[in-house]
C-alpha cells in the first residue's frame, strides 16, 4: 500500500500534467497532488497519501539487483 509523500523534481512545464495524472492513476489515488514552480524554470510535483503506519517495513526482495 502506497503511503506518505512522493516528490518529483525538475519537471518541465510541459510534463507537469502528465506527472499529476500518473500519480492519480495509482490505486488508491493520492489524497492530494500539488505542483509548484521551483524558480529554475521547472516544477516540483508532490503527491500525498495517508501517513505510513508505524513499523511499516518495505522488504524489498528485488532491490539487490540495483
Amino acid at each position: 500500500m502506497v503511503c506518505g509523500t512522493f516528490t518529483r523534481t525538475k519537471v518541465p512545464a510541459a510534463d507537469v500534467q502528465n506527472v499529476i495524472d500518473a500519480y492519480k492513476e495509482n490505486d488508491p489515488p493520492p489524497t492530494s497532488v500539488i505542483s509548484k514552480a521551483d524558480g529554475a524554470g521547472t516544477f516540483t510535483v508532490v503527491a500525498t497519501w495517508p501517513d505510513c503506519p508505524a513499523n511499516t517495513t518495505h522488504s524489498l526482495a528485488g532491490s539487490k539487483a540495483r
Binding site: 502506497v2 516528490t7 518529483r8 522488504s59 524489498l60
Partner: protein, 294 residues
Amino acid sequence: MKSICFTVMVLLIAVGDAGCALFSGYPADPQPSTALDDLRSKYFSQNVEDCYNAGACASLPHLAGKQAIRDDVVLTRMHIYDMEFTLFARELSGGNNTISLGGDLTALALNGLGATTGSSATKAALAAASGGIIAANGAVNKDLFYQKTIPAIVTQMEADREKVEAVIFAGLKQPDDKYPLQRAVIDLDALNNAGSINGAVANITQQATGAKVDSQKSIDDLRLGKFSISASSSTIRTWVKASKTNLEALKTWWKSNAPRDYVSALPFPEQLENNDDEFFEALRQKAIGDLSIK
C-alpha cells in the same frame, strides 16, 4: 596399446571408487588419529589451570610465567577447537552424514534464499544453492537444499569463528593481568559456539533482516527524485496515454517484473514513467521490449 588400456582401467576404477566413497571434499588429515584425544586430555585438565595459577608447570616444562602458560594454553585450545570444527565440517560435507538440520534449514529456505544476504562468500553460495531447490509446486527439495546449502553454512561458521579468533588474538597481545586465562576461556567458549549450525543460521537470518531494513531505506530514497527526460520515459508516457488498455497491460507487466515491494509501496505508473534512477531506466527498457512498445 596395452599400457593405454591399463591406464584407462585404473582411471575407471579410481573414478568408480570416488563415486562410492563418502566424499567430504577435505584432504586427509596428516595428524595421527590420537592427536586430538591427547591434546584434549592434556589441555583441558585441572592440572593445566593449576599450572597457570601457580605461574609454573612441570607438565609444560619449557614455560615459565603466567602469560607464557596462558598463551600456550589458549593457542593449543584454539587448535583443538579448529580440529573439532574441521571434523564437524567434514561430517556435514560428507555424502552420508548423520547430522539432521531439520527445521532450521527449511526455515531458512522459507525465509527466502533470495532475500538472504551476508558476506559475499555466503551470498554467492546461497545464490548458487537457490537453483532447483524450490520445485515447480513450491515445495522445498530438502535433500538438494541440504547438499547445496552446506557450503554457505560452513562459510558462515568460518566467518563467525574468524571474528572470535580475532578477539582472542587481540587479547593475547595484552599482558596476563589484562587478559587472564579465565577471560580467554570465555572467548574460547564463544569460539566453540561460533562453529555451530544454529549460530550460522541465526547470523544468516539476521543478515537477511538487515537487508530488509536497507530495503526500506531504498523505498524512502525513492520518495524524492528527479524527473526522467530519457527516451524510454517519453515512449512509455506516450504509450500509456494512448489507451487504458496499454495502462492495464503495463500494470500487469509491472506486477510481474518489478521488485515485490516496489509494486506494493511505490505509486504506479508514476515511478516507472518518471523516475530517473538507473534501475527504473532498466525496467523501462525491459518493458518496452517485453510489451513491444513503439
